[in-house]
Symmetry: C2
């Protein structure tokens, strides 16, 4: 033991999450699963640098308060002044820049997924981090992009969310609308402040229709108009007939216009495509705050905990990268608020935090009897370690993950170590050259004779779940 000295006790940095190995293990399974689903629909992966030029980041001008810029701690005097760099706060701004910059090298429709950290300097609070992962998919077309992609997005998200480890019993709703509908309605109703009105309607799930009514009254809308709007927008349609029900609801109103009907037809088509997904709901109150959505919009909330906000959102936009390129690039995308969702499930105690090690097998090192001479013990130990290592290599070749125990110790201690790390099997290599191999199943508490060449676990070890499978 070293002597006592004064030490600086490190602490967590607020808003920057960090997990223990057993939570990170589950997080990796989540990423693997998400990647597998995204790729199974043909999305390719890209990564962009963590930074963009500040001018690129602030082009939209809406979130500059939250942006982190980089400074070199010791900028040299007389050094050429470089462009200021800022950490990206989402993956859409970098995507726009990427697509414009590499336009000639990409094949369109460009289907890409991206799973990176993003940074927002806002004050940390429950469920809000300053550094967090997002998992995005977007499809970008040139000039046009088929509407069936708008239906593919929620189908993929449904497959992702319902297959995440620990999410098996969570009820969530994929809420879908089309901005053209409400914008058209507001035009038809001749509402003077459509933006504030939309922002208010968007809070329906959070503040209830009564809350929305109060806000709209405050905006100066007359009560008849508010009643019409609420009757229109506070509506959900789900299940097999959702598309048609929605169509009938919308056409039953005596205020209508072309934009609204166009949006209704699009949403009808999308809902028809999603009739096999029980959790997909057409919800006419959904708007999404950000300006750039122009058609379909998505939001995903926990059923019974809508107040937690959306864990997965997105929509269609007319033109991704108009500030960078003289091409019209319509797109549709959706983003999983990964860290937000993961932290929520972790906090609720719903994740299986049993694996402190990815190893399937702990290779035990049988202890040598201590009544032999020191040199004999050393030789014997080396021999045993060599045999254990050879055994481990055979098992690794068969795709098992094997941790070698670190020193010859009492078998009980080695088993306790496997228990503590959550390693499901302990392997005992032969003590002598003609000895037998045995393997202990930690869960079943059974021990059986076997060989490293032929061993197969009776049940799949947990490590297999949620990992990339072979295609064949």
């Amino acid at each position: 033991m070293s002597e006592k000295k004064s030490v600086y006790k490190p602490k967590s940095i607020s808003g920057y999450p960090e997990w223990l190995p057993e939570a990170r293990y589950v997080e990796q399974q989540w990423f693997d699963h998400i990647r597998r689903v995204f790729e199974s629909y043909g999305f390719c992966n890209i990564e962009t640098p963590s930074v963009e030029e500040l001018d690129v980041i602030t082009a939209k001008g809406e979130v500059d308060k939250e942006i982190y810029v980089l400074e070199r701690l010791h900028q040299e005097d007389g050094e050429k002044k470089e462009s200021r760099l800022a950490l990206h706060f989402d993956q859409t701004v970098p995507l726009a820049r990427y697509v414009a910059q590499h336009f000639g090298d990409l094949v369109f429709p460009f289907k890409r997924y991206q799973m990176q950290r993003v940074w927002r300097g806002e004050r940390p609070q429950k469920g809000r981090f300053r550094e967090f992962y997002q998992c995005d998919i977007d499809v970008i077309g040139v000039d046009q992009l088929g509407l069936h992609f708008d239906a593919e997005m929620p189908a993929i998200i449904y497959e992702v969310l319902s297959g995440l480890q620990g999410m098996e019993n969570e009820k969530f709703q994929l809420r879908i609308s089309n901005r053209k509908i409400l914008i058209g309605v507001m035009e038809a109703l001749e509402i003077e402040n459509p933006e504030e009105t939309l922002r208010s309607l968007d809070k329906m799930a959070k503040i209830t229709p009564d809350g929305v009514r109060a806000e709209l009254t405050g905006l100066g809308l007359n009560q008849n108009t508010i009643t019409s709007l609420l009757t229109f927008a506070d509506q959900k349609f789900e299940g097999v007939g959702a598309g048609l029900d929605l169509h009938n609801h919308i056409t039953s109103f005596n205020f209508k216009n072309d934009l609204m009907l166009e949006g209704a037809e699009e949403l009808h088509f999308v809902m028809d495509q999603l009739s096999h997904i029980p959790d997909a709901v057409a919800d006419l109150s959904i708007v999404r705050g950000l300006d750039y959505y122009t058609g379909t919009v998505y939001e995903t909330t926990f059923v019974g905990n809508e107040g937690y906000g959306s864990i997965c959102s997105g929509g269609r936009y007319d033109d991704l990268a108009s500030s960078y390129i003289n091409k019209k690039l319509p797109g549709v995308g959706i983003s999983i608020g990964f860290s937000r969702l993961f932290a929520y499930m972790l906090e609720q105690g719903k994740l299986p935090l049993t694996r402190k090690s990815p190893a399937d097998i702990l290779m035990a090192l049988p202890p040598v009897r201590s009544d032999e001479s020191l040199n004999d013990i050393k030789n014997k130990e080396n021999e045993i370690r060599k045999r254990a290592q050879e055994t481990a290599q055979i098992l690794r070749k068969n795709n098992y993950k094997v941790e070698m125990f670190h020193m010859p110790q009492k078998i009980g201690k080695q088993i306790a170590y496997a228990e503590k790390k959550g390693i499901p099997y302990v392997w005992f290599p032969p003590f002598d050259e003609d000895g037998k191999h045995e393997v202990k199943n930690m869960a079943a508490q059974t021990q059986t004779e076997t060989t490293p060449e032929n061993w197969k676990p009776k049940t799949q070890p947990e490590t297999q779940k949620g990992q990339i499978n072979d295609a064949a």
Copy 2:
């Protein structure tokens, strides 16, 4: 088409690499392979935040010029002053902080791998980035840590490097030494400026023994001492007898001391354990610049391109986290300069850049005859798309990755699209209800009848290589 307008043409940021999808595809295979090897030896994964408090980052005081600090673009007036945050420049400083902070929750020996981006603000140059990935493994013990871990590191790295896609024909050397040896020699030779001498010896591969002699002469060492040092240090031992050869070389000198002999014994043991790895070489000139190594040191260079520098380095340290915790935590670790290596192989044109999409299969949409009525065409198209989608879902369930073609078009165009994206198979769902499925192998240019339930590709699609396999 949109009309012409003035646009800001985005460009790359110097020192921040970004890849096209087909290069990122290979990069993902690399990460998968590295992860699989690391985990197969029982290393668990952790991630730390991208930032640490500036005080933590600069504790060692050696690289502050390269550090990026974060500033919020619009810090609010009167806001509580927060600790300054800096992006980490390696993964060892964060590991030390992590181990100290979570000491009670970790199981020791703590075997962890970490594959994250790190940042260094230095002037970008060939092979040097400002943002890049490192892949590290370290084992941390409490009070003590067995020497066999020092031999496990290069064995793992050998398995990693020799299995990377595109690296099949690269010759590289894992060069191993033990700092105790040269430090002991310098003590025995009573050299007055051991640090400068070490730094000079460390350049043997780069500046040749003659260059080292010139530098040491400049330091004021006498020629006999220099000759002794060079005769001693300019030595490599490889192959089955390396450990013993090394032992004989070292003990043949008439200057020796305990530290040197201790180091020699350790290196002898490590080399004996590595006798099955042809590319592992004991190289007594290896030192590694950084101060904190206290025993075994590693470096990895391309054979014939030693001047490119080390692509994978590390070593043993006595005490990881002494500034944070009153525990002695010896460790040994090694770090792959991932982005450096990947960029080098990419630049050399040695990576297979054929896959712009991860999809195994492009699901074609047979075009409807255009002599039917518009409504009939639409209905027929919907029917075909539905059948194609159902077929795609069956194939996805069987773990194939399937991209749906985006619109009914001439078959030739759809095949050209698969070609352009590097998708190895094109699937033709039946045109009518009782029609047959056919699949085209793009490489072999053959087309065969099949069913989605039973189809297996004759050769494994390329997507399978380098991905996480099932354990069973």
